[in-house]
């Protein structure tokens, strides 16, 4: 308990993440090329892009699940070298152990005396009363909430989210956005969200990064006040701008990363928010 008190009251909890000239190739295929990225402690970053653009690879490199082919990656100035205890990842699928009850899943890898923390975090995601249930009995959204609790119980300083909401219905997604945003504000970890849903990226992130052909094509700061409402015209404008950029094939001249408010020419994408 004392541990949780000290860590949640610390304000700069998140790690500082830096990638320099990061590249990854599988065989002859370059998935990520010479990527530079700097993420401040406690920032919420969303990475968007078409599938196969290398965004998930970047996440797996940061997680330490794979090693870079070239370049360096560091958290708080220390090189990322394999799996890291300050980093937790939430996958596309919940990946709960079906043979462990909900609370045991959340407390996976925790010492026995810290199971109380598992209950605490489970309550934070609103599933306290389901702690004795088997994962097979939960809905998809509930499973992802358990997975989120399992990630947060370790008090990560860097939370990686690999399209964790991709399989959920629209209403559950909005609920999950609120939940993730609230927990992020409470725990102040650095968050890196990979998604192909631009609306989700704009709703959650401080910065939206677009990856195209293994390179960062856009780095857009989102200065909207939180909680963000999708009905807000400013929200819609940013979303449309990013989406237009995603749908447009990059012109070499246009592909300068900009954080101001440049106007991207492109086809209007009415009501379209999936950039697959």
């Amino acid at each position: 308990m004392s541990m949780s008190d000290t860590t949640t009251s610390d304000s700069p909890r998140g790690v500082k993440l830096e990638a320099r000239g990061l590249s990854k190739r599988y065989g002859t295929r370059d998935v990520l090329r010479n990527t530079h990225l700097k993420i401040e402690p406690g920032e919420f970053i969303a990475i968007v892009g078409r599938s196969g653009c290398g965004k998930s690879t970047l996440l797996r490199l940061v997680a330490g699940l794979e090693a870079a082919s070239a370049g360096t990656l560091s958290t708080d100035g220390k090189a990322v070298n394999g799996l890291h205890d300050d980093t937790r990842i939430m996958f596309q699928e919940a990946r709960l152990l079906p043979w462990r009850r909900v609370l045991d899943n959340v407390a996976l890898g925790l010492p026995r005396e810290q199971r109380g923390r598992g209950r605490e975090v489970l309550a934070q995601v609103g599933l306290a009363e389901r702690e004795g249930e088997w994962p097979a009995r939960l809905s998809g959204g509930q499973r992802q909430r358990v997975a989120l609790a399992r990630a947060l119980v370790h008090q990560p300083r860097l939370l990686l989210l690999d399209e964790p909401l991709g399989a959920l219905d629209a209403l559950t997604r909005i609920e999950m956005h609120r939940l993730i945003e609230g927990l992020w504000q409470q725990h102040r970890f650095t968050a890196l969200l990979v998604t192909h849903d631009v609306q989700e990226a704009v709703a959650l992130a401080d910065r939206v990064i677009l990856i195209e052909d293994g390179r960062i094509a856009l780095d857009q700061r989102i200065d909207l006040a939180r909680p963000r409402s999708q009905g807000d015209p400013a929200f819609a404008a940013i979303e449309k701008r990013i989406l237009d950029r995603v749908l447009q094939k990059p012109d070499a001249a246009d592909a300068t990363p900009a954080s101001g408010t440049p106007h991207w020419p492109g086809p209007p994408a009415h009501g379209l928010r999936w950039a697959i």
Partner: protein
């Protein structure tokens, strides 16, 4: 959901109840309907026994061929009272379980080893696969040469035959554990041993239990053959001895004992499945 399942199980009964061929057992049907579907599977065996008894009483069946069920029950009862039955069952069950412990234990350990460590798979798996294709019963002449006809021969045969189902299913169970779960376990900081205990073993368990059930079936078959060849005690001895004196009723008692023990082993294995796999949706309905 539970009530739905129950309804689904119950509804077919009235439909078959109208079947004219079962009109004679109307009383039984009324009872069955009130208790539920549980009695339905017993209908055919009970009818068979009744028919058998009637046939014996009317003299259609010679007692040399098949004694009346009542005589079998009587023989069963006398053997129980004399304590003979219990001694033989104990000996037979002891052999079966010892063989299972040796062969199954070895299968489990080797399966875990080859399933988890690539080196041992390369070293052992192809040899084991080769030996697997030899039917255990084909070894009998060799086994008699090696061990004579005493206990160790029987244990050896049982152990060899139960080894393979457990080995194979353990190996495949370990190999088929969801790699995504293993990756998750690694990123969540589980040590090698924790990963094994929390993720790999439970993931392989359903497959291992399938192997156990196969083994239990084989175990009785091989035991019967081994005891019939030669034994100084056990159910096989009981029946072979009775055959010499044309005591068909005792032979039948022996056969029924084998059936009973086999069923018991299966119930036990199912019980293990339902307890260890209670998280699995496929096993939850029955348990609930």
């Amino acid at each position: 959901m539970n009530t739905q399942v129950r309804e689904l199980q119950v509804t077919p009964i009235p439909a078959t109840a109208e079947d004219p061929s079962t009109a004679g057992t109307g009383a039984v049907w009324g009872f069955a309907r009130s208790v539920g579907a549980r009695l339905l599977p017993w209908l055919v065996p009970v009818a068979l026994v009744v028919f058998w008894q009637v046939a014996s009483s009317l003299g259609w069946l010679s007692t040399r061929v098949l004694p009346a069920p009542v005589d079998v029950v009587k023989a069963f009862w006398t053997l129980t009272l004399s304590g003979e039955l219990w001694t033989h069952v104990k000996v037979s069950a002891g052999r079966a379980l010892a063989g299972l412990a040796i062969g199954g234990g070895l299968g489990l350990v080797l399966g875990l080893l080859t399933g988890s460590v690539r080196f041992f798979e390369t070293l052992l798996d192809s040899s084991i696969q080769m030996v697997r294709n030899i039917p255990a019963l084909a070894l009998i002449p060799l086994v008699i040469l090696w061990f004579g006809i005493d206990e160790s021969a029987k244990l050896f045969l049982i152990a060899v035959s139960v080894f393979f189902p457990i080995y194979l299913n353990t190996f495949h169970g370990i190999r088929n554990v969801d790699p995504q779960l293993i990756e998750m376990g690694r990123t969540y900081g589980l040590s090698r041993w924790q990963l094994y205990r929390e993720v790999i073993l439970p993931g392989a368990l359903s497959s291992i239990l399938v192997g156990l059930r196969f083994s239990l079936g084989l175990m009785w078959v091989i035991l019967i053959v081994a005891e019939t060849i030669s034994a100084q005690s056990g159910i096989g001895y009981l029946t072979m001895n009775a055959r010499e004196f044309l005591q068909t009723d005792i032979v039948l008692v022996g056969i029924l004992l084998y059936a009973l023990l086999g069923k018991l082993a299966d119930v036990f294995a199912r019980g293990l499945e339902q307890w260890w796999l209670r998280w699995h949706p496929g096993y939850q309905k029955k348990a609930a």
